[in-house]
Structures are given as C-alpha cells and as structure tokens.
C-alpha cells in the first residue's frame, strides 16, 4: 500500500538523522576515550591500545586518590552550603504571593543564564587582594582604627589584606555561587507540592517553627531535597573552570587533573581513564537519585 510505504519513509527520515548524529558525534568519541583508557603512550604521539588496566591502577595511587577525595569533599561541602543557603530561599518563594513569586524565581534563574566564565571573573574582582571584599574590610578596619584613636586607645596596625583568592576557600565560594540555582529550583518544586495545611496543623498543635520545619517540612520534602543535593553535587564534582580560575596550586579538582593529562602532561590514556572514573561516579550519583526518588512525580526540571 502506498500509505504504508510513505509511513516507512517518514519513520526512517525521523529516526536516522538524530540517531546517526548521536552515534557518530557522541558515542564514537566517548568510545574512543574508553578505548584509550586501556592503552599506553607509544612514542611521542602514538597510543597503543593493549587492554591494560595500568591507567586505572595508577588512578588509585594515593596522589590521585587524594585528589578524588578532595573533589568529593569540596563538591560535598558546596552542596551542603547550597542546601543551607538555598532552603530558606526556596521556602520564601513557595510562600511568596502571586505577584512576587515569578519575580523571585526570575531573580534566582537570571545568574544561572549568565555565562559561567563571566560569573567566575566577577568573583575574582571581588575576592582578589585589591578587590571589593578587601576594600570594604579595609574601610571598616580604618574606621575602627580612627574610632579607637578617638576614645584614646592605640590605633590599629595597618590593614593586612586577607588572601581570599587562589585557595580552597575561593573555590568553595565560587562553586556555591555558581550552583545555588541548581539547589533552589528542585527544592522549590518539592516544597510547592507540600500540603500547607499539615504545617498549619503542626503550628496549631503547639510546635514551634523550627520543630515544624524539621519534623514536618523536611521529611515530606525529602525526595526533593535528595534531588537537589544530587543535581548540585554532580556538576560541582566535575567542575573545571571554577577551581582553575579561583583555586591555587593545592585546590585542583579531578577535572583539572584530566585537563592536564590532555594538554601539558600529554598522557592521554591516563586522562581517558580518569575521565571514565569521573563519568562512572556521575552515573552512580544519578542512579542513586533515581532510586531514592522513585515513585515521585517528575519535578519538571530536566537538568
């Protein structure tokens, strides 16, 4: 039948382009990285794929284990800070009136749409030795000093700028800055679904705000919290730009080590193995999220 033939043609026209594209320009490149991770350097530019596990064994060398551990710790701390900072924000959006709610959501989303590099650069200008943070602190220091002199005390010694940039502190601040919207949006989605009358009941029955929060709101919003935690943790773990620009020599994260293997160190097979370890860690976190939030309605934020 003509119609049958036409439908079949429509099927192939629809299926082939996206499938081929994803296969050729995504799966094959990843497959090559995977193959490289079982190889070793040969000569200056050659790589022999020998099926060796040496690269993975090397990744468990204490030096690299420590960087993995550190990346997990930094991403974990970032996630925790985002949760603490973001929870009241999500709560405020949920309880805002009709007019304010879209505005607050927009205010949370807007930095998210600003280029990551630019946001990081903006933080450099704030945190550097002659940046705004130190400038403000110096101003308060000098005012305090003048005040001390006025009441007859010894004036303070000259202000020593704090080292706020190129260390782990800066990396965590930068990661929190960048990832806060990742946390607030799923939290908002979860809290919005919450039955507010349960909170009212708890308050009516005499529980305080904090008790209501921890015994009613948190348990009910737990799937959303888990979602937010993992959605924040995953990109923080693989962050490259923030530790690269804000970190010092001792604040390298796993992505920076991968980059170095491919650029300066020129050890592509080892870099490939590290990439796949990072990818396995990411998939494990995503699988954990799917497992912990099973049976929950999707929160509409695909990211």
């Amino acid at each position: 039948m003509a119609l049958e033939k036409q439908s079949r043609a429509a099927f192939w026209v629809t299926v082939l382009p996206p499938t081929l594209w994803i296969a050729v320009f995504f799966l094959i490149p990843l497959g090559i990285v995977w193959a490289y991770s079982f190889g070793h350097n040969e000569g200056l530019t050659g790589v022999a794929i020998t099926g060796t596990f040496d690269n993975y064994i090397r990744a468990f060398d204490p030096l690299y284990l420590q960087i993995f551990g550190k990346s997990i710790a930094v991403a974990g701390l970032t996630t925790l800070l985002c949760l603490i900072i973001g929870f009241p924000v999500a709560l405020a959006i949920v309880f805002a009136n009709e007019k304010m709610r879209p505005l607050l959501l927009l205010l949370v989303m807007l930095p998210f749409w600003t280029n990551l590099l630019i946001r990081t650069y903006a933080l450099i200008a704030v945190l550097r030795t002659e940046g705004f943070a130190n400038w403000t602190l110096a101003w308060f220091w000098n005012q305090g000093s003048t005040l001390a002199a006025l009441v007859g005390l010894q004036p303070f010694p000259a202000y020593q700028p704090l080292e706020l940039l190129y260390n782990n502190f800066a990396v965590v601040v930068g990661l929190v800055y960048v990832h806060l919207p990742f946390m607030v949006l799923p939290l908002y989605a979860a809290l919005d679904r919450l039955d507010k009358s349960l909170m009212e009941a708890s308050l009516d029955l005499g529980a305080g705000h904090l008790r209501t929060l921890f015994s009613i709101v948190v348990p009910l919003a737990l799937p959303g919290i888990v979602s937010g935690v993992i959605i924040t943790f995953v990109p923080a773990l693989g962050a490259y730009l923030t530790p690269d620009l804000l970190g010092g020599t001792d604040s390298q994260m796993i992505a920076n080590v991968i980059e170095r293997q491919f650029k300066r160190a020129n050890d592509w097979p080892f870099g490939a193995a590290l990439s796949f370890l990072l990818m396995y860690a990411t998939f494990a976190a995503i699988a954990l999220r799917a497992y912990l939030t099973r049976g929950q309605p999707a929160d509409g934020h695909g990211i």
């Binding site: 405020a92 308050l203 991968i258």
Partner: protein
C-alpha cells in the same frame, strides 16, 4: 485586627527577609559591580572615577575580540539551526514510533545532558585530533565545523527534551482528521504538527543559542588557534588580568544573554495566554 504575620507568612518575618536580601546580594553584587566598572574611567577597577565609554570603544577596535565574537555568533546560529532540526526529529521519533532498541536510543539521547563537560570536551578533542582531524586551513565558516559539531551534540538533546514535553499535549485526532481530509504525511506534518510544536521550537532555539554562546569547556578543547570563540578569548584575558576591558566584553555578553532570555519568556507567556 493586629498586623502580626499569620503563621505561614514566612516572608513577613525579618530573619527571612534578611536572609533573602543576603542571598540576592551575594548573587548580584559581583555582577552589578562588574557591569558598573566597565564604565569606570580608571584602570584600577576599584575606585569610581567617572563615567566613560572608552573601554567599549577599545573593545570595538580590538580585532581579535571582534573576530571571536563573530565566531561565537556564527557558531551559535548554525548550531541552533542544526539542533532544531535534529531535536525536533528526535522528539517526534520518541513520541510517535515504537521500534526495537527505543529505550536504548532514548537513554543515549539524554546522555549529553548528564555527562560532565570535561569528559565531553576530552572526547571531542580525541575525535577531532586523532579520528577525523579537522583541517586548520579551511576558509572561514568551515573552519568552525568541529566546534559546531561538538555544540550540536550537546544542544540538540535539550531541544528534543523541550519539544517532546510540548508534543505530549498534542491531540492525535487533529492529525488523523488532516489525513482523512486527504493530507499526505508531509502535509499533515507541516500544517498540523509543526504549528503545534512552534512555541517549543522557539524555546528550544533560544536555549541552544544560549548554551552554544556560553559554552567554554567543550569549546576550549575543540578550538584551534584560528577558531577562538568569545568565551575562550575572554578566558585568556581573564587569566592575564582584571581589566575594565574584560568588564566591558563581559557586559556585552550578559546583555545579549539576558535579552535572549527575556525574549524566550515573553514568547512563553504569549503562547500560554493564547
């Protein structure tokens, strides 16, 4: 009646307001100072010395930066067109047909959204240096091919996601009616399905344009010395120092992105109200 806040009016409690103010100060003060100091008449970038547009003038006379900007816009435009076509086809494929391995393909299509950027960057570096070496001496738009391909790979799954969500609300009877009235596959697609997908296509286009324009990590691994994009160029400037010129360049990009997002939201509001 007293004016005390009701139990659930959290936003009228002062600690809550203070917290919100603090968070928004944290989020916005770096960006606002960045924009403000792009107009500052001083190299030192910390004390306000008066308004100037000098750094924007310098920016427009900086050929390398302008070329990088043109590269970025070209890449974003071509990426958006390709991503729209591929993303719409992928969405229709997953929505309309049943076929073996559908689950596998569906999962694979969502992979570029979750794979860490650095891993994808590295994969593209390997692919374009060892497997399909992209010639460096191609004439201008073609030389950007490798970057465009890499961008399409991570943009079109987002388009597919947005379009598919929209297709869920499509009434298949409309298409059947068109067929009954004698429309061919192509006519039914063009005159019934595409108009329904239109809001999602616009949203998807703006999404992929922004994603492509903003991408640094993946581009960093695929760009060569002659194919520098705007973020890659800004990166090399940032590494060098904090200057008002970088502020001006950043401000331009912020304004562009915010304008695109505003367009997208206006479009969504329009399609919701109609």
């Amino acid at each position: 009646m007293s004016d005390r806040p009701a139990p659930l009016e959290y936003n009228r409690l002062w600690p809550m307001r203070l917290w919100l103010a603090g968070v928004f100060f944290f989020l916005y003060s770096p960006l606002i100072t960045l924009i403000a100091f792009s107009f500052n008449d001083s190299k030192r970038n910390i004390v306000w010395r008066g308004f100037t547009l000098d750094y924007y003038r310098k920016l427009f006379n900086n050929d390398e930066l302008m070329l990088a900007f043109a590269n970025s816009l070209t890449i974003a435009l071509v990426t958006t067109i390709l991503s729209l076509v591929l993303g719409a086809l992928a969405a229709i494929m997953l929505w309309r047909f049943r076929f073996p391995l559908k689950g596998v393909i569906e999962g694979t299509l969502s992979l570029p959204i979750v794979v860490p950027e650095i891993c994808m960057g590295v994969a593209m570096l390997l692919f374009f240096s060892r497997v399909v070496p992209w010639p460096h001496d191609l004439p201008w738009p073609l030389s950007l091919g490798a970057i465009i391909i890499a961008h399409v790979s991570f943009c079109f799954p987002f388009v597919a996601m947005v379009v598919r969500a929209r297709l869920a609300s499509f009434n298949k009877e409309q298409e059947e009616a068109a067929r009954d009235l004698g429309a061919s596959d192509w006519q039914a697609f063009r005159d019934v399905l595409v108009p329904h997908m239109k809001p999602a296509l616009i949203a998807g286009a703006l999404l992929s344009f922004t994603l492509s324009l903003d991408d640094f990590v993946i581009t960093f691994f695929t760009s060569g010395p002659n194919t520098v994009t705007f973020p890659v160029k800004v990166y090399s400037m940032v590494r060098f120092s904090v200057t008002p010129e970088v502020n001006a360049a950043s401000t331009m990009l912020i304004v562009l992105t915010v304008a695109l997002m505003a367009l997208m939201m206006l479009g969504q509001r329009k399609s919701n109200s109609s």
